[in-house]
Symmetry: C2
Subunit: 476 residues, 2 copies
């Protein structure tokens, strides 16, 4: 540990990149491999290879890797698997040391694919070529705008999250990711012919641009012991969220036919090893992104005393259940805070945690600023470590109805007050519904660092992940 993994350096920071299988035809899958690099302004030099074209998207095109006069740091092979062996031979010829193998059809492609896999792996090993994939769509690096993707990616957003996947499924979420999260790097390990989760973790642990690591794995290659040790060393400095699929016997079998790997670990053993290593395990894909959002947006709670603000009493009860089930205890607020809150509560209602903001709303439609600012007394209370709150959708709907000109200003007041609270104590919101004003609110909130979840249960779970990590860190 401490020694950076150098293998991945040319994959993330190449100066000269060649794409074999480049196309200027938007009807072809490979189109965006080149188009994204150009539009998003990759900061290195791009070489395109296609024997049937002289020029693609304004760039001179070579008929073979061998014809390129310059040395290359990275070659992206995106041809049918069947001809990849001959391209690999070109790579050997040119002395290339780093290759991304995009196509599927290797170890997961029946007997023939398995044989091809062996041949390519042997050739690479004998010639010191490091291979990412096959069956991968990556890497992405937001520092130099390197992006390998089949999809049109609207923009990149730089930040501290590194993602490691073992599947291209994240592709569907790429535009969502870049409009919600700040990313340092994305790596899809695919079938792991060579580069695997250990390389990824070693590299990202030392990467100064990576503040947290979010990892999806289907199987662990080789010695799991070293991987766990590596997790342990890294999680002391950077939070690690892990989604492990292929956990059920049928899932493990499916993983084998997906990437050709055998997930032989016992899932509950793996679970306890992750816990010991301080990694936070997400139970499913939704939770994976929920947790990433909370680690990215929020500071950790220093203890487990939570306050709840709801707009409907019924949801307050549900939220309280969720808090307790996720290891929180309901905060008992100080007298000063309660006194302050009485200013916005109707006289007959005693402010208690969970706080029913719904009963207050009616009295503050003409001055919602006061309502929001008074609520800020809750996270300011020294007995409160964190807070979940329900988006007061109806309040905005009614304001819109009353005076639509005031709506935007009120929304911004809400967003900035809550963003401020979120800077002092971890704060997660939950939404009650979808569509309409709520969509605008959620967008504004998340752009301002306040995560929004689809239910109080998910908001509590996301804060609980932060808290668990904090407890682990404190023990280190």
């Amino acid at each position: 540990m401490g020694q950076a993994n150098q293998v991945l350096e040319p994959f993330f920071n190449p100066q000269k990149v060649a794409i074999v299988g480049a196309t200027g035809n938007p009807m072809k899958m490979n189109y965006h491999l080149t188009e994204n690099l150009l539009r998003l302004k990759f900061q290195g030099r791009i070489y395109l290879v296609n024997p049937n074209r002289d020029e693609i998207l304004g760039i001179k095109t070579w008929s073979s890797l061998r014809d390129i006069p310059d040395g290359l740091d990275l070659v992206i092979i995106s041809t049918p698997a069947s001809i990849s062996l001959s391209i690999m031979e070109d790579c050997v010829e040119k002395g290339i040391k780093s290759v991304v193998l995009v196509p599927g059809g290797f170890s997961e492609g029946g007997k023939k694919g398995g044989e091809l896999h062996k041949k390519v792996a042997k050739l690479a090993k004998e010639n010191g070529i490091r291979v990412l994939g096959p069956n991968t769509l990556s890497p992405i690096n937001t520092s130099n705008n390197l992006i390998i993707s089949f999809h049109r990616v609207e923009r990149l957003r730089k930040g501290g999250i590194a993602f490691v996947f073992q599947s291209g499924f994240y592709e569907y979420k790429l535009n969502w990711i870049f409009s919600h999260l700040g990313v340092s790097k994305i790596l899809d390990l695919g079938n792991k012919m060579d580069i695997n989760e250990v390389d990824a973790l070693e590299y990202l642990a030392e990467d100064p641009e990576t503040k947290m690591i979010a990892m999806h794995i289907e199987s662990i290659r080789g010695e799991g012991k070293y991987f766990i040790q590596l997790l342990k060393g890294t999680s002391k400095r950077k939070p690690i969220v892990i989604l492990k699929s292929g956990r059920s016997p049928a899932g493990a079998k499916a993983a084998a036919s997906h990437t050709g790997a055998i997930a032989k670990e016992n899932d509950s053993l793996f679970d306890s090893l992750l816990k010991q290593a301080g990694a936070i395990r997400a139970q499913d894909l939704e939770e994976f992104f929920d947790f990433v959002k909370s680690f990215d947006f929020l500071i950790p709670p220093s203890d487990n005393r939570i306050a709840v603000v709801n707009i409907s009493g019924g949801e307050g009860v549900i939220a309280t259940d969720a808090c307790q089930q996720n290891g929180f205890q309901m905060a008992k607020l100080g007298k000063k805070t309660i006194k302050k809150l009485r200013e916005i509560f109707p006289p007959w209602e005693i402010p208690v945690n969970p706080f029913d903001g719904g009963v207050c709303m009616e009295f503050h439609l003409s001055d919602m600023g006061k309502f929001f600012h008074t609520l800020a007394a809750i996270p300011d209370d020294e007995n409160v470590d964190c807070l979940i709150a329900q988006i007061p959708r109806t309040m905005f709907e009614r304001t819109e109805h009353l005076q639509s000109s005031r709506l935007s200003a009120t929304m911004e007041e809400f967003v900035s007050t809550f963003a401020d609270m979120g800077k002092r104590k971890p704060l997660a919101l939950w939404r009650s519904s979808v569509g309409g004003i709520e969509e605008r609110l959620v967008e504004r909130l998340e752009l301002n660092g306040i995560p929004v979840y689809p239910s109080s249960n998910k908001a509590a779970k996301a804060l609980a992940a932060l808290y668990k990590y904090q407890v682990y860190r404190n023990q280190c």
Copy 2:
């Protein structure tokens, strides 16, 4: 059992309804109480009471209930709690037998509220007045367009689901409910001064328009034993989905301050009683609506052999885990089906469950109809009891790119093929992302009876709820 509960009849099917606290001022909370009834054309007669107005929304207004010359079947009281006692006295005077008490501030409103609660309850009991609430927003009946709500409800949609809530939180979801689900009746029990979950269940069990019952409860009044027995008798004929909140000690305390009731039941005991009674328990609010959707849209699976169609291999593994964890086994398809599927799979790929539709897509962009129709062989296989599939979002995105004129036709072909499959075997879809084309697809799919869930895990859970109920029914 067998004997219909008559108490609720005037609440759902009143001929003459009075609203006390009616207003024509859209700035007031009570505005939509009247406005919804008028716009959505309630099929009974409406009487408005407001001492300060002669006319509201075009309707002659009375200054007191006592002035109304006709008899009334139902009175909606939506005034501050403090003056509700005198309105109740008017009700006694007029011989009214059914009252909805909308306001909060009774048993949950401190000592003063508690005393008021007792007084109103005593007066009602002595005079044979049945009370719904206080702290309620309901009833709703889609048969006669009766609707009591603070929010503008765009439309009602008639169907077989009856909802019972113990909180007004469903209000936020009302427009979502009516754009996604077919509803018979909605009842919010509020603080249950009088009418409670037993009345609701007795009535809905015998209501011919109600095909399934979805019930949120915070506490059970009186003898839980009879309620469980009632559930048991009803669930043999109609599926019952239950969300119980106030399950943790802190949640139960919150429930007490929400509706003034003590949730004294032991949660795990309650859980096993529900199972014995054949009711399906939802763990949280999202699951509650997920299950309702599956029971409303789908036929039950006859056994637990499931097929999975994914667009990304990684999601296929995650989905397989989810299926196994939810009690399904992966279906082994017959030779005939596999042969048929080979027509759309590339030559190097062997079609196995989970089926990776992603590898096929590239070859069928010019004829997606064939692709969809061939997939239909999966639910037609006699070894398959049900199916979950991932929405092929990228497929449509690429079609749009290629030939946007063809997009709508392709979408409709997809929707109609899958809707057809869903008629033969239960079929749930999951989405990979949000926004863009996927929103249109989800809307079209759900309008055609195919439920869409945010993850494969949720799709599998929703089918599992159906399957569990089917097993219970078969044992009866």
